[in-house]
C-alpha cells in the first residue's frame, strides 16, 4: 500500500477537527452555531460555499463519467457551475434580504403558512438524505479502493467524524473548515495534473481516442468479478485476464461505456432528451439544495450576497476545468477501469498509473486521496448542518432561542438515518443519485423561490400544490430509479432523467393553483416585496 496515504488522510482529519475545535472557542450562543453571527468575510464565505458544494460527485464522479462516456457528460460540470449563475440572477440578493435561514423559513416569510413550512421541511430532509447517502457511500468505496479495507468502516468513519464536527463546532467552525477544504480540493487536483500533462507530453502525446480503440499503456491483468462476455467471449467470476502493452481494450458486456467516435463526438438525437433534462436539473437545482441556501445568511446584506455568489461561480468554474483532464488522460493511462466499471476511481488511480509507483506517483496519489476525503467531509458537513437546522427548528420546535444542546441533539437525529442507510444500501449508483437530488430540488424549491421572489400572485395553496405534484413526481421517479426494476425505452428516459417534465409541471401547477386561489394572496405582499428587493440602506 502507498506509504504516504495514512499520514495524509490522518492529517486531513486532524486539521478538519482542529479547525472545528478552534472555531468552537468563538461559538457561545445558538446564533453563533447556526449563522456564525454573520461575521464571515465574503472571500472566506465564497471559498466555504465552494468547498461545501464540490462533493464526491464533483471530485471523483465527474472525471469518472468523462472517462466512461466522453463529451456528452461534460454537461454535468457545466450545469453544476451554471446553477450558481441561476442562483445569482434570480435568488441571491432577495433571498438574503428576506432574512430566511432555511427554505422552510422562506415559506414562512413570504407566504406565512405553517403547513407549507412543514411540507418544505419534508423535502429538505428528503433532498438532504438523497445527497448525504451517496457521499458516505463514496467515502466507503474510496476506502475500499485505496486501502482494500471494508466498505462499512469507510462509510462509518466519515459519518462519525462529520457528525462530531458539526455537533461540536457548528457553522462558525465549518465556515473555516469548508474554506480550507476548497483550497485543499483545488490543490489536490491541480498539482498532480501538471505532472500528468508533462508525463503525457514526454510520452509523445499518445492519442486519447485512437481510431482503432483505446489500448493498454502497459501489461495489465484484470480479475473478473462477475460473469460477463469480453468481446463476445464468456468469462467467469474469479478468472484473471492478461493483456500486453499495446493490446486493444476489449468491451465488457456488463459495463456501459462509449468507445471511439461515440466517446469523442456529441451523441446527437439519441441523447438530446437526456441532455436537456440534465441541463434543466443542474441549472435550476442548485438553488434548491438545502446546504447551499443556508450559506447566504452569513452575508451581511443583499449586495454582498450577490458578490459572494459571483466569486463562488468563478471558484467552482476554476475547479471544474480539472476533472475533465483526469477523465481524458484516464483514457490513455487507466483503460482497465473501462473493463471493471470502477471508473469513479480514475482520479485516485491515475497518478500512480501514469507516473509509476515511485515516490512522485505515490505522493501525488496520496494527495488526490486526501482531496477526495476533503470532498466527502465538507459536503456531508454542510448537508448535515442544514438538515440538522431544519430538524432543530421544525421538528424539535426549538426556535432561535433553543439551546446549543438541542442543536447537538438535532445533529445526531439528522445523522442517524443517512449513516445507517449508507451502511445497508451499498449498490446505489453514486453520481446518478446526486443528479436525481438536483432534479428533485429543481422541481420543488426552484419554482417556489423564483415565483415567490418575482411574482406577487403566488399563494400558499398554489405553492403547496406545485411542490406536491412537481416535486412529488420527481421524488417518485427517483424512488423508482433507485429501488425499482431497470426500465427500457422512453420510460427509462422519462423516469431516469425526470427534470425535463417535472420542472415545467411544477411551475405550471404553481401558477395555475395560485391564480385559482388568488384571494389567498397575503395582504402584506407589498411590504414583503419591498423587503426582498429594496437595498438595505433604505430600510425603514
Amino acid at each position: 500500500m502507498n506509504p504516504y496515504l495514512v499520514p495524509g488522510l490522518i492529517l486531513v482529519v486532524v486539521v478538519t477537527v482542529g479547525i472545528g475545535a478552534y472555531g468552537l472557542r468563538f461559538a457561545r450562543t445558538t446564533s453563533d452555531f447556526l449563522v456564525a453571527s454573520r461575521a464571515v468575510s465574503p472571500a472566506w464565505n465564497a471559498a466555504a460555499i465552494s468547498g461545501e458544494y464540490l462533493s464526491a460527485a464533483s471530485f471523483l464522479g465527474v472525471a469518472g463519467l468523462i472517462l466512461r462516456y466522453g463529451v456528452d457528460v461534460l454537461w454535468y460540470p457545466v450545469g453544476f457551475a451554471a446553477g450558481y449563475l441561476a442562483l445569482l440572477l434570480f435568488v441571491a440578493a432577495p433571498l438574503r434580504r428576506s432574512g430566511a435561514f432555511t427554505l422552510p423559513d422562506f415559506c414562512q416569510v413570504r407566504l406565512s403558512s405553517t403547513a407549507l413550512r412543514r411540507l418544505a421541511s419534508v423535502f429538505v430532509v428528503f433532498i438532504g438524505c438523497l445527497y448525504l447517502v451517496p457521499q458516505l457511500q463514496g467515502a466507503g468505496l474510496t476506502f475500499t479502493t485505496v486501502t482494500g479495507g471494508s466498505y462499512v468502516w469507510g462509510a462509518l468513519l466519515v459519518g462519525v467524524v462529520v457528525t462530531a464536527n458539526v455537533a461540536l463546532g457548528g457553522m462558525r467552525a465549518i465556515t473555516f473548515v469548508q474554506a480550507f477544504q476548497y483550497w485543499l480540493k483545488l490543490t489536490a487536483l491541480a498539482v498532480p495534473v501538471i505532472f500528468l500533462v508533462l508525463q503525457w507530453q514526454s510520452d509523445g502525446r499518445p492519442s486519447v481516442a485512437p481510431p482503432a480503440g483505446a489500448v493498454f499503456p502497459a501489461a495489465t491483468s484484470v480479475v473478473v468479478e462477475q460473469d460477463a462476455t469480453v468481446d463476445g467471449v464468456e468469462v467467469h467470476k474469479g478468472e484473471e485476464l492478461y493483456y500486453d502493452e499495446g493490446d486493444r481494450v476489449p468491451q465488457v458486456s456488463t459495463v456501459d461505456a462509449h468507445f471511439g467516435p461515440e466517446w469523442l463526438l456529441p451523441g446527437g438525437e439519441r441523447t438530446l432528451f437526456a441532455t436537456y433534462s440534465l441541463i434543466l436539473a443542474t441549472f435550476l437545482g442548485t438553488m434548491g439544495l438545502p446546504h447551499v441556501l443556508v450559506r447566504f445568511y452569513t452575508n451581511p446584506d443583499g449586495a454582498s450576497a450577490r458578490r459572494t455568489t459571483l466569486v463562488v461561480l468563478a471558484l467552482v468554474g476554476l475547479f471544474y476545468l480539472l476533472p475533465t483532464l483526469y477523465g481524458v488522460l484516464g483514457r490513455v493511462y487507466t483503460p482497465q477501469l473501462l473493463m471493471t466499471g470502477h471508473t469513479d476511481a480514475v482520479v485516485l488511480t491515475l497518478p500512480e498509473a501514469a507516473l509509476g509507483g515511485g515516490h512522485l506517483g505515490r505522493l501525488l496519489g496520496a494527495l488526490v486521496t486526501a482531496g477526495a476525503l476533503a470532498a466527502f467531509l465538507s459536503t456531508s458537513s454542510g448537508l448535515l448542518t442544514s438538515v440538522a437546522g431544519v430538524v432543530f427548528t421544525d421538528v424539535l420546535r426549538a426556535g432561535r432561542g433553543g439551546s446549543v444542546r438541542d442543536f447537538r441533539m438535532a445533529t445526531l437525529l439528522a445523522a442517524v438515518v443517512p449513516v445507517t442507510l449508507s451502511v445497508y444500501v451499498s449498490n446505489m449508483d453514486v453520481s446518478r443519485v446526486v443528479g436525481l437530488a438536483f432534479a428533485v430540488a429543481a422541481s420543488s424549491f426552484c419554482p417556489l423561490l423564483v415565483l415567490g421572489i418575482w411574482w406577487r400572485g403566488l399563494t400558499d395553496l398554489g405553492a403547496a400544490a406545485g411542490i406536491l405534484i412537481g416535486g412529488g413526481a420527481a421524488m417518485v421517479a427517483v424512488l423508482i430509479t433507485v429501488l425499482g426494476p431497470p426500465l427500457d425505452g422512453w420510460a427509462a428516459q422519462l423516469i431516469g432523467q425526470p427534470a425535463a417534465w417535472t420542472v415545467p409541471l411544477a411551475f405550471l401547477v404553481m401558477v395555475i393553483g395560485s391564480l385559482l386561489t388568488s384571494r389567498r394572496v397575503p395582504h402584506d405582499v407589498g411590504a414583503t416585496m419591498l423587503r426582498l428587493h429594496a437595498p438595505e440602506s433604505l430600510r425603514i
Binding site: 468563538f26 457561545r28 453571527s37 463529451v71 461534460l74 454537461w75 460540470p77 457545466v78 457551475a81 451554471a82 450558481y84 449563475l85 441561476a86 445569482l88 440572477l89 434570480f90 440578493a93 469523442l264 463526438l265 456529441p266 446527437g268 438525437e269 438530446l272 441532455t275 436537456y276 441541463i279 449586495a303 450577490r306 458578490r307 455568489t309 459571483l310 461561480l313 468563478a314 468554474g317 476554476l318 471544474y320 476545468l321 475533465t324 418575482w454 407589498g526 411590504a527 416585496m529 419591498l530 428587493h533 429594496a534 437595498p535 440602506s537 433604505l538 425603514i540
Partner: protein, 127 residues
C-alpha cells in the same frame, strides 16, 4: 460585539440622530406606508431587476442551451478541431466557465446600478 461578548461602547450624539431623520421625505414615506406611489416604485424596481435577470438568462440559453441542438443539426461542427482539440470539448470543458462568470459579472454590475437608480429616485424625488 467584541470577541469577549461585551458590546463595544458607542457614542451617541444628539445632532447625528436629528440629522439622520429626514424631514418630509415623501418617497421614503410612500414606501413605508405602502401608498400607491410606494407600490409603484417597488414594482418598477422589481420589474427592472427581473427583466435584467431574464435578458441575461436568455444570453445563457442561446449561448449554451443551443449547443446540443447545434451538434444535432450540424454534426460536422463536432469534428472541427481547434488547437488539436475537438470543438465541443473546448466549448463545454473550457470556454463555458469564463462565459458564465462573464455573464454573472455583468449582472452584478447592472443590478447594483438599478439599485443605485432606485435609491437616487427615493432620496431625490420631484426634481
Amino acid at each position: 460585539m467584541g470577541g469577549d461578548g461585551t458590546p463595544e461602547r458607542t457614542r451617541v450624539v444628539l445632532g447625528e440622530v436629528a440629522a439622520r431623520r429626514r424631514p418630509t421625505d415623501r418617497s421614503h414615506a410612500d414606501l413605508a406606508e405602502q401608498t400607491p406611489v410606494g407600490e409603484a416604485l417597488v414594482k418598477g424596481l422589481v420589474r427592472a431587476q427581473l427583466s435584467l435577470a431574464l435578458r441575461l438568462a436568455l444570453v445563457v440559453v442561446t449561448g449554451l442551451g443551443a449547443l446540443p441542438m447545434l451538434f444535432v443539426a450540424a454534426p460536422t461542427v463536432g469534428a472541427v478541431k481547434l488547437l488539436g482539440v475537438n470543438l465541443p470539448w473546448l466549448l463545454l470543458g473550457v470556454l463555458s466557465f469564463p462565459f458564465l462568470v462573464g455573464v454573472g459579472w455583468a449582472y452584478v454590475r447592472w443590478a447594483e446600478r438599478n439599485e443605485q437608480d432606485f435609491i437616487a429616485l427615493i432620496r431625490k424625488p420631484e426634481q
